[in-house]
Amino acid sequence: MKRVYVNEKWCLGCRLCEYYCAFAGTSGKDIARSLKGVKINPRIKIEEKDGISFAVSCRHCKEPLCVKGCITGALSVADGVIVVNQDKCVSCYTCVLCCPFGAISTSESGAVQKCELCIKSAADKPACVAGCPNNAIVFEERR
């Protein structure tokens, strides 16, 4: 299955991925209107220090501790993609406790949010990948 892979060698720390992710999470048509004056809360996040930077988002683990640990069944695996049903989430954050990558975060509603590979949009690749100017984030099949 295609996954998002990150290569910090090429990450510029420009944070475009965060903005594209944030925009993908809105239903807006115009990025400026959707994000103007908004403090973004993307599902992919850059870690940055001393000239090193890289993006972190859900790895869609084959053995997803978050799904296994979820107390409500809000997290599940659909065709390899770990998805969250925010209606079922009760904000216990067991998934945050379990995720070894720190890739699950809290949304404005309190329910958890995470990268779902933009499967809900019609795009052929996640917004972060499409928006990355340097192929530091790629979406591909690897063994």
């Binding site: 870690e47 890289f54 501790l65 107390i71 998934c95 945050v96 406790l97 720190g102 975060s105």
Partner: protein
């Protein structure tokens, strides 16, 4: 192949999903004395609070049993395991044969010589719900996870809530003094009263009593059949000492890798992973679950707490921006942590404990300050994020 699972909660469901990873066609029967679709036990306080409804309580979709071709025998109790004949005798007089058996009987509330509600099951929750009224005064015996979740659940729906515990602090099993004080204060600010370091001798003056003074594993079915310590003893394949009988979840005891001690770790993720592990192995697969550690993620009225491991060794402590954080470490390993408030990326700490990561292989100073993958080596990051 005939699989029988005693218990319809997390470990049992995990077992079904484990079996079906390997064996798509074998017969699976679940025996459950609760007459309900599988539901999430920790959600009962949310049900009482009204944050979730019966539908949302369901741990898996309505079609779960059908999708997984499972026969659910609900409202029936397993009364005896006949290991010689490989059959389970049921409370309705029937008997069901198995090739592989999982005991996932969970635990029950510790009984006190005091009358009161227990707060373990859906039925308990519904019963309590029916008793609630604005003028009622409630006494909760036990300031542990169940007691406090119960308190949160009924807060605002009754006249008063008093929580009593023998221990000197709340959440004694998962928090240190400082953390406990923070949580206690959080409750007290919302009107909950605490009586600590005292045993309850009388419930006079209270309309509703909830007993949440701890739990005991349901091990009786295997008594004399398999080795039992504090709970049913299982190995890393979730096998009991009796061949073809597996056990998983709150009824078991296993190795806590953070301390190396045999422990009951009655928590949902472990239950699921043990159940799944048992299921895979029951179906002829080969799976090991040897990374159990005590861990908890819990929140009370917007205050989030994440803890894991054990609290021994040296301590790194930081209290910044309303976040309470303690890391416990020794011998180049992280043993445990307590995180209250901003719990972002806590799982990275959990992974350090679970994986027994040598702390000198990462940027310890950096990760103390803030959990992040930046603290790992470039190669580790390549592996974690780059897939190679």
């Amino acid at each position: 192949m005939k699989y029988v699972i005693i218990g319809n909660s997390t470990a049992g469901i995990g077992c079904v999903e484990g079996i079906r990873q390997i064996d798509k066609s074998g017969n699976i029967a679940i025996i459950s004395d609760e007459p309900h679709h599988t539901y999430s036990r920790p959600l009962i306080s949310y049900l009482v609070k009204g944050k979730v409804d019966a539908e949302q309580m369901k741990y898996r979709a309505d079609s779960f049993y059908k999708d997984n071709d499972v026969t659910l025998l609900s409202g029936v109790r397993a009364v005896k395991i006949n290991a010689g004949e490989k059959a389970v005798e049921l409370s309705d007089g029937n008997s069901i044969a198995y090739d592989k058996l999982l005991v996932a009987t969970g635990s029950r509330a510790f009984e006190l010589p005091i009358a009161g509600n227990s707060f373990m099951t859906l039925d308990d929750a519904r019963k309590l719900q029916s008793q609630l009224a604005p003028e009622k005064k409630v006494l909760i015996i036990g300031a542990g996870l169940i007691g406090l979740k119960c308190a949160e659940g009924i807060l605002g729906r009754v006249a008063s809530i008093t929580v009593a515990d023998l221990a000197p602090r709340v959440l004694a099993s998962i928090l240190d003094d400082g953390g406990a004080a923070l949580v206690q204060k959080h409750f007290e600010e919302r009107g909950v009263k605490f009586i600590l370091s005292k045993s309850v001798s009388s419930t006079d003056g209270f309309d509703i009593v909830v007993i949440a003074a701890g739990v005991r594993p349901n091990t009786e079915l295997l008594s004399g059949i398999a080795q039992i310590g504090k709970g049913i003893a299982i190995n890393e394949k979730c096998e009991t000492s009796n061949p073809d009988i597996y056990a998983a979840g709150d009824c078991t005891e296993s190795i806590d890798v953070s301390s190396g001690q045999q422990k009951i770790m009655a928590l949902l993720p472990n239950a699921y992973m043990q159940g799944e592990c048992a299921g895979v192995n029951m179906a002829g697969g080969n799976k090991i679950f040897d990374k159990a550690i005590p861990m908890n993620a819990i929140g009370f009225m917007g205050l989030h707490i994440i803890t894991a491991g054990n609290y021994t060794g040296e301590v790194y402590e930081s209290n910044k921006n309303g976040t309470y954080k303690k890391l416990f470490y020794s011998d180049n390993k992280l043993n445990g942590y307590i995180f209250i408030g901003d719990i972002e990326k806590a799982g990275i700490y959990t992974s350090l404990i679970r994986d027994r990561t040598p702390l000198d292989s990462i940027d310890w100073a950096l990760i103390c300050e803030k959990p992040g993958l930046m603290a790992f080596t470039k190669e580790d990051r390549m592996l974690k994020l780059g897939g190679r």
